[in-house]
């Protein structure tokens, strides 16, 4: 049985705007699910409904098969880490962490033991008697984590826990967070707008847009087989091209305007969106015929790869991440090949967010 089930969840705001529009998800026990999407896509509202901080307009929420749709947050036993941590300023770090346990009237010596071990686990034992306003952002984040874990929740909900930190600290904490979540083995729902956070942390990713879940799958599938152009463009840099299918069955081709590429399967539509990841473009070897030719407008050495930005004959912009042995410079005319089987062709109707 799934640990968390969301059934046709809808949240309508004032004026009839649907912040969350028919979201259904099943999250297994111990799974880490990432809700990712641009701001305003409904990911935070969905999370808040799971926590009980927001009342759904319609739909159901089940925890282990039990309907909790209208249960108040204090009865759900869900650990929630807030974006701005929301630490109690009138309490010390230790009191913050102990809060949930004192509410449950746990014996004082047990509370003390638990708080000590959690502060130790988070590496902040030395901060026990400080006040939140004396802590750095990263320290506050750890306290918020410890506080949410103290109540031994079965479900952990995280609302952009890294977004309030500066970039460098965020990178460090992301690695730490990945290890922490792995150790905890809690059913976790993690909201972020940062696709690299989503790729690194989740077992599955639900990509949201305009209140709906556009695709929910493993990071690998989301990246390699995006359901549509929106997912492809949101997760990682990509080449999104418009094309027309031409030719006879058996020798189908897609016409991209500046070039024609052979198809291995029938996409089932004439108007299509073609998705090619930058790393799936390679330089042609001598003697090979290129899939496309571009005029290089930028060549940036990234270390592992060289990012080449160029224009095809009809001014279409193409991005390619080439091996670092490639010696390409601005103004060069280069031929590129698509790695076999790495071109995704989607029916046009799937591409509302084409850019």
């Amino acid at each position: 049985m799934s640990h968390i089930v969301l059934e046709h969840l809808v949240k309508e705001f004032k004026g009839g705007v649907r912040g969350v529009d028919d979201v259904s998800l099943e999250i297994a026990k111990g799974e880490i699910l990432i809700l990712v999407g641009p701001s305003g896509c409904g990911k935070t509202t969905t999370l808040r409904m799971i926590a009980g901080l927001e009342d759904p307009t319609s739909g159901r929420i089940l925890f282990s098969g039990k309907d909790v749709t209208h249960l108040p947050p204090e009865k759900r036993n869900v650990g929630f880490v807030f974006q701005n941590y929301a630490l109690f300023p009138n309490m010390t770090v230790a009191q913050n962490v102990a809060f949930g346990l004192t509410i449950r009237k746990a014996p004082p010596d047990l509370i003390k033991k638990k708080v000590d071990s959690l502060l130790g686990f988070m590496g902040i034992s030395n901060l026990a008697n400080r006040r939140p306003n004396e802590l750095s952002g990263g320290q506050q984040q750890r306290v918020a984590f410890a506080r949410a874990l103290a109540i031994e929740p079965e479900i952990l909900l995280l609302d952009e826990p890294l977004s309030a930190l500066d970039a460098k600290l965020r990178d460090n904490l992301r690695v730490e967070l990945a290890r922490l979540l792995d150790e905890l083995k809690l059913t976790t729902v993690y909201v972020t707008h940062d696709q690299s956070e989503a790729m690194g942390l989740g077992h599955r990713i639900a990509v949201m847009n305009q209140g709906r879940v556009v695709q929910c799958d493993t990071p690998r599938q989301i990246y390699q087989n995006p359901a549509n152009a929106f997912v492809a463009s949101f997760i990682g840099r990509t080449n999104l091209l418009r094309g027309k299918v031409a030719g006879e069955p058996g020798s189908l081709r897609v016409d991209l305007g500046f070039t024609q590429v052979g198809l291995t399967a029938d996409p089932g539509a004439r108007e299509v969106t073609v998705i090619i990841r930058p790393e799936d473009l390679v330089l042609v070897q001598p003697g090979e015929s290129p899939d496309m030719e571009i005029l290089v407008t930028e060549a940036l050495f990234y270390g592992q790869t060289v990012r080449v930005v160029g224009r095809a004959d009809d001014e279409t912009e193409i991005v390619a991440d080439l091996e670092n042995s490639a010696t390409v410079k601005r103004g060069d005319r280069v031929g590129l090949r698509i790695r076999p089987g790495k071109m995704l062709v989607k029916a046009m109707a799937d591409a509302p967010g084409r850019n």
Binding site: P72, P73, N84, Y85, I103, P132
Partner: protein, 266 residues
Amino acid sequence: MRKNTWLDVVFISVGVLVAAFLIVPVVISILGSFSAYWTTSLFSQGFTLKWYQYVWENYGHTIRFSVMIAVFAVVADVLIGVPLGYALTRSNSRWMKLLEEITALPVAVPGTAVALALVQTHAFMRGSWLFLAIGHVVVTLPLVVRPVAAAMRTAQLRALEEAAASLGASRITRLLRVVFPNIRGAILAGALMALTMSMGEFNLTFFLYTPLTMTMPVGLYESYASLRIEIGSAYTTIFLAITLPLMLLVQYLGGESTLRARGGGV
């Protein structure tokens, strides 16, 4: 090298003049209250405490009554103002915004107008001390509602309450352990302001009082208008002895809560 020394001199002179303008009459008044017979010189006829005795015997009831009214008003202000401030910050509705403006109205409307309105609508209560007390609640309520609402907004109380709820705290527990401790300073500051304001309120009180419900400021007015200047001075001194410490406490608490607000971003 500082160039603006002449500017400093100007600022200091203005400061001293303003202070003198405000403080000298008060000091003279205090000195006069100990004068046996205040003519051209203060103590030509000697020093006495008899005016204090006179004030205590004849106007002691106004002091006791003022304290009673002020305490009643403050208790009512806190009981009404804190939940009101909480409700105001919790709701985004336009009506709540309007309500907030309405609560602040008595600050802008003269006390006399409030008094006349009360007389017209609640004349049947005229003889009761409660009538005056309610008037004081009306004019002092904004002094509690405003700082409480402001503190609730700055302290991100909504997020704190949500955090407490997710940790298992019921509504009552959240109020007692999260909301209240974070606005305690604002409640105290507002309550002291209201206490001071009620003690010194004249405009409204002057229209509503009866001989049996005379407050300190009204008594003071009466003594200055119809009795010896030394008696008025003694009365003023007693008045100041009661209200000045309150004012200082308000100042001190105000400074403290500003400091806390600055250091205490959530």
